[in-house]
């Protein structure tokens, strides 16, 4: 199954959820297994993510560390793991560009429920054309009539883990 997934995808833009495994933080996503994720990453030529997702990951770990034990360790070694990602040629971190901002402004009128993180990450993902996300608001937006009817829907595929082989 995973081989099929990998063969269909050469490049993928991942939302913040999928950066967490690189920071040694376990996630619970329906059907997700770390071994399968590793195979997928190994078979991709490029993995794209937003620079914003790095800040978001750190901020989320900080929040989690205030309510649960154990996340302090993830915060401590965050920089080391980040350094590995930054040095890996397979990883491409996207800054916010004028092209992304143009997409942002196109999406905004039909996406009032999306927050700034959703909008920025989605806008940047247009550069790749395929976004892997588990964000509830982004997936709701994807399933909305407004998005389906808009010309933007033809320019990007928004998928969650269980759909990635489709």
């Amino acid at each position: 199954m995973e081989r099929d997934k990998a063969q269909k995808l050469r490049e993928l833009f991942v939302d913040t959820t999928y950066l967490l495994p690189f920071f040694q933080v376990p996630i619970t996503v329906e059907g997700f297994e770390l071994s399968n994720f590793k195979k997928l990453i190994a078979n991709l030529s490029k993995v794209h993510a937003a620079e914003l997702s790095i800040y978001e990951t750190k901020a989320k770990l900080l929040r989690l560390s205030k309510v649960r034990r154990g996340y302090e360790q993830a915060l401590q070694v965050f920089g080391q793991n980040l350094n590995v990602l930054r040095l890996d040629e397979k990883f491409v971190f996207h800054g916010y560009t004028s092209e992304a901002d143009e997409r942002f402004n196109q999406i905004l009128p039909s996406a009032k429920r999306l927050n700034a993180f959703d909008l920025i990450i989605l806008s940047e993902a247009f550069a790749v054309g395929e976004l892997l996300t588990e964000d509830e608001d982004l997936l709701t937006f994807r399933d909305s009539d407004q998005f389906a009817k808009s010309s933007l829907s033809k320019l990007i595929r928004i998928k969650c883990w269980k759909e990635i082989g489709d």
């Binding site: 495994p21 994720f37 190994a42 989320k60 649960r68 996340y71 793991n81 590995v84 040095l87």
Partner: protein, 85 residues
């Protein structure tokens, strides 16, 4: 850095430094991979270059796994915080 072993390695006529399979295996350097060289005053430290895939092999922290629901909620809160400041 904790030094576990000191070895003598040969340097070739063109300056190449020869290691052994035993050494490469012990430190995780694979053929055709890339190493990081840290150069100091009269010293050279070589270590394998880690990749993103290596990070996925590292042990997970003993924390409750985070769900998409929690992550979406955290994102909304962070967005509100940013907007409020």
């Amino acid at each position: 850095m904790l030094v576990k072993k000191k070895l003598e390695l040969k340097v070739g006529t063109k300056g190449e430094i020869y290691t052994s399979e035993e050494i490469r295996r012990a430190v995780g350097i694979e053929p055709r991979s890339v190493v990081i060289a840290e150069v100091g005053e009269r010293q050279l430290i070589l270590r394998p270059k880690e990749s993103a895939e290596h990070l996925l092999e590292k042990p997970r922290f003993k924390v409750p796994p985070v769900s998409p629901k929690q992550l979406s909620k955290l994102r909304r809160k962070l967005a509100v915080d940013l907007g409020a400041r």
